[in-house]
């Protein structure tokens, strides 16, 4: 009995505190907009798994973007909710959870903007739902080409947009360009033949396809193509087979969660050290976690990234890095700035739509404003969205592992190709 009473007291106290906080928030937000109207944006990222360190900084970056506007756009208070599309059981993004989050946001009428998701496979399940709901999406990290442009499966990208109208845009450079960057890197390194592997997921396989196309255009011979099982205990027999083909490089399209570290270890173990046979992977393995998982075998691998590291960002970007580092304790990650950029693009669009509507904007108006984004001066430089929602930026970076950490190797501008 006594315990039950204590629990009740605690719950009551909690409720009271929550009420007080909501009350305060409402009071400060309602000062000039007359009635304390608010809009809601959500972000959807995998907050559990190997990418956790990255995604938590992305949530911070979005919060920072909101804080810098004092929590409001055009006099409307911004409510922000961070959704998690990963499950502990899967240890990474989970399609069912992705769909569930999208459903919830679609039905919540207060939501006018969606930032995310992180994984392209997750986006593939969410875009149709949110498309029918007419909700604007800006992803900081999806690079799979088929989400916006033809080049993936035959019926892509139209199958993601049942209404026929676009609602999805991304601030990161897509995989057609990332594939080209991988091929360009190999060209510069004098690679003549390559063996291509992928993890059989939307993102990994799509990227490997893009890379294969680019490599063939650059006259790099493709010796073989395999899809790996992300839960296999090791890849020794595969790597043994790859070694017999004697390639100059191995390309892997996939994410770290699908055992990329084991793959790198077994590649080196099969007599293909990284200085003799290059290992090139995409942004999906551009996570510090891979360094501890693969240990010495990670030394010398190359990773392409559909954007620039924080040291190469514009002047605004440097400002953001400084503000971020003075506000939060955790170290800035490759995608942090992209989450910040996505949040700002979204908030700007909402602001324009709200000013036009003179209050809470319609969802459709927000979509229109997102796609109308032109010469946006953000942390990534000055850029625009094209009709399909892709960025006009063309610069990508190549990272290499040197002395146990990722260091910038070179910048590739695929517009030059």
């Amino acid at each position: 009995m006594r315990k039950a009473r204590r629990v009740t007291t605690l719950v009551l106290a909690g409720l009271l505190a929550a009420l007080l906080m909501v009350g305060c928030g409402g009071a400060s937000g309602g000062g000039d907009s007359g009635g304390g109207e608010s809009i809601k944006i959500v972000s959807d990222l995998p907050l559990q798994g190997a990418n956790r360190a990255q995604t938590t900084t992305m949530v911070n970056a979005i919060e920072l973007a909101i804080e810098e506007r004092d929590g409001e756009v055009a006099g409307l208070q911004i409510d922000y909710e961070s959704l998690d599309d990963a499950t502990a059981q899967a240890g990474q993004w989970d399609p069912a959870k992705c769909a569930e989050n999208a459903q919830a946001a679609a039905q919540d009428e207060a939501v006018v903007g969606w930032i995310g998701p992180f994984n392209s496979g997750c986006a593939a399940t969410q875009i149709p739902t949110l498309n029918e709901a007419g909700l604007a999406m800006v992803s900081p990290a999806n690079t799979y080409i088929g989400l916006t442009k033809p080049g993936g499966e035959p019926d892509e990208p139209d199958k993601y947009y049942p209404t026929g109208e676009r609602n999805y845009a991304r601030v990161i450079v897509a995989d057609d360009k990332q594939g080209q960057a991988g091929a360009a890197l190999m060209q510069e390194e004098g690679v003549e033949s390559v063996y291509i592997l992928d993890d059989k997921e939307t993102y990994g396989k799509g990227l490997a396809d893009q890379f294969q196309e680019a490599a063939e255009e650059q006259d790099i011979e493709v010796l073989g193509r395999e899809g790996i099982d992300g839960s296999a205990s090791n890849y020794r027999s595969l790597m043994n087979k790859v070694a017999q083909a004697e390639p100059d490089a191995v390309y892997f399209g996939g994410i770290i969660e699908n055992n990329a570290a084991q793959l790198i270890k077994d590649k080196v173990g099969a007599g293909m050290p990284n200085d003799e046979v290059l290992f090139v992977g995409p942004d999906g393995i551009f996570v510090d976690e891979i360094l501890s998982q693969a240990g010495d075998a990670a030394e010398g691998i190359y990773v392409t990234f559909g954007g620039l590291p924080e040291s190469e960002l514009s002047a605004e970007g440097q400002e953001f890095v400084e503000t971020y580092e003075s506000t939060y304790d955790d170290e800035i990650q490759p995608y942090t700035a992209y989450a910040y950029e996505a949040a700002n693009v979204m908030l700007d669009a909402i602001e324009r739509a709200a000013e036009e509507a003179g209050g809470v904007p319609e969802r459709q108006a927000v979509i229109d404003e997102v796609f109308a984004t032109e010469d946006f001066e953000g942390v990534l430089g000055t850029w625009s969205f094209d009709e399909e929602g892709d960025t006009s930026l063309t610069e990508l970076s190549v990272q290499t592992v040197d002395g146990g950490e990722f260091t910038l190797d070179r910048i590739v501008d695929v517009a030059d190709l």
């Binding site: 559990q48 798994g49 190997a50 956790r52 502990a88 059981q89 899967a90 240890g91 990474q92 059989k200 395999e226 899809g227 790996i228 099982d229 839960s231 296999a232 205990s233 090791n234 890849y235 020794r236 027999s237 595969l238 043994n240 087979k241 017999q244 969660e257 055992n259 570290a261 084991q262 270890k265 173990g269 099969a270 007599g271 976690e289 501890s292 998982q293 693969a294 240990g295 010495d296």
Partner: protein, 361 residues
């Protein structure tokens, strides 16, 4: 399929057995023969390639065989598929990592063994991790039996199956909380250098290590079952629990010991898996357990030699499929073989438990 009279020579007996065999058996033999011939052709054409893949298959198979033994031991005694066994294996690998890190529950017991401390320390580290993991997993195995299976021994078999799946989830989540959802690296204690002088065939110290752990464990286990009093008791309980208890055998204790043995094997294979592959993850027990269970069924569940044969077969089929068919087909090939074997020999390759443990078919 009888072998005919005593006086007949072996060839006549063989002919007769062919005559008596059904069409399905003949087709199966032909399929198997074609596959073997194709592999032999490859082996003659590129011997080094074939040998390397064979070594990889055998070492991968050895780990699967050790886990499969745990499934089959328990099934042989109480006819329960112990789904928690694969996850016990995962806990074993995590115990191994923890021992090697030298830190437990925030207490530093000794400096982490990272592989840079010299050969003697490495050997000590490996042995110590193996022993601790074997002890821990053995106890976990016994504990699981006490908590989840013993109270249900007289209930319908489905009930025990459900608790087994439940225990599997519990262990998996313990692993998840313990080490997190990402892959956990093992220190490189065993050299990956090639032992053989030639470059063509790769046989590393790691491969030798797997063989050196697996073979003594297999020999020890088979000695224990066939030649000790306790082993005899296990065989008796497997045949008939009631009759065994009437003969004065402590059935509960015998079952506990079976789970202890299964756990010990899980612990050993967990540490071995981690040291061999260099990475472990909280759900490794599910995937490896699935292959091990398949191996046990392939060889004939309940049959100890069957589990070993099944484990090695799956390892070798896997590496051969990787090489000659393509990686994306490997699991399909493995399970297709399982289905074919079960179609032609529903009791598995070597027959189920009754064959080895003395009961008639």
């Amino acid at each position: 399929m009888t072998t005919g009279g005593v006086a007949k020579s072996r060839s006549e007996a063989l002919l007769e057995s062919v005559r008596n065999s059904g069409w399905d058996t003949r087709i199966a033999v032909v399929i198997a023969a074609v596959v073997v011939v194709l592999l032999l052709v490859q082996a003659v054409q590129e011997p080094a390639q074939f040998a390397s893949q064979l070594v990889i298959g055998i070492t991968n198979g050895a780990i699967i065989a050790l886990i499969a033994l745990g499934y089959t031991l328990v099934y042989g005694i109480i006819e329960l598929i112990n789904f928690a066994h694969g996850d016990n294996f995962m806990i074993g690998s995590f115990v191994g990592i923890t021992v090697l890190s030298g830190t437990f529950l925030g207490l530093d017991f000794f400096a982490p063994i990272t592989g840079s401390g010299g050969v003697l320390i490495n050997i000590f580290g490996v042995l110590f991790a193996l022993v601790v993991a074997m002890a821990a997993c053995g106890l976990i195995g016994v504990g699981i039996e006490r908590v989840a299976y013993k109270p249900l021994r007289n209930s319908p078999r489905l009930a025990v199956l459900i608790t087994a799946i439940g225990m599997s989830f519990i262990l998996q989540n313990i692993g998840l909380i313990w080490k997190g959802p990402a892959q956990v690296p093992f220190p490189e204690l065993i050299s990956s250098a090639n032992i053989l002088p030639s470059e063509a065939v790769i046989f590393r110290w790691k491969d030798l290590f797997v063989i050196a752990v697996t073979v003594p464990l297999l020999v020890g286990l088979s000695y224990f079952i066939s030649s000790t009093r306790q082993g005899k008791a296990m065989r008796a309980v497997a045949q008939d629990k009631e009759a065994a208890s009437m003969m004065g055998i402590n059935v509960n204790r015998t079952i506990s010991i079976t789970f202890l043995l299964g756990g010990i094997l899980a612990g050993a294979s967990g540490v071995m898996y981690g040291l061999f592959n260099g990475i472990s993850v909280f759900n490794v027990g599910f995937t490896q357990g699935l292959f091990a269970f398949t191996a046990a069924v392939l060889g004939g569940i309940g049959n100890l030699s069957g589990a070993v044969v099944g484990g090695f077969l799956i390892g070798i089929i896997g590496s051969m499929a990787d090489q000659y068919i393509g990686v994306r087909w490997t699991s399909i090939v493995i399970f297709a073989v399982l289905i074919l074997v079960l179609v032609f020999r529903p009791r598995g390759l070597l027959g189920d438990r009754s064959a080895v443990q003395g009961g008639g078919e």
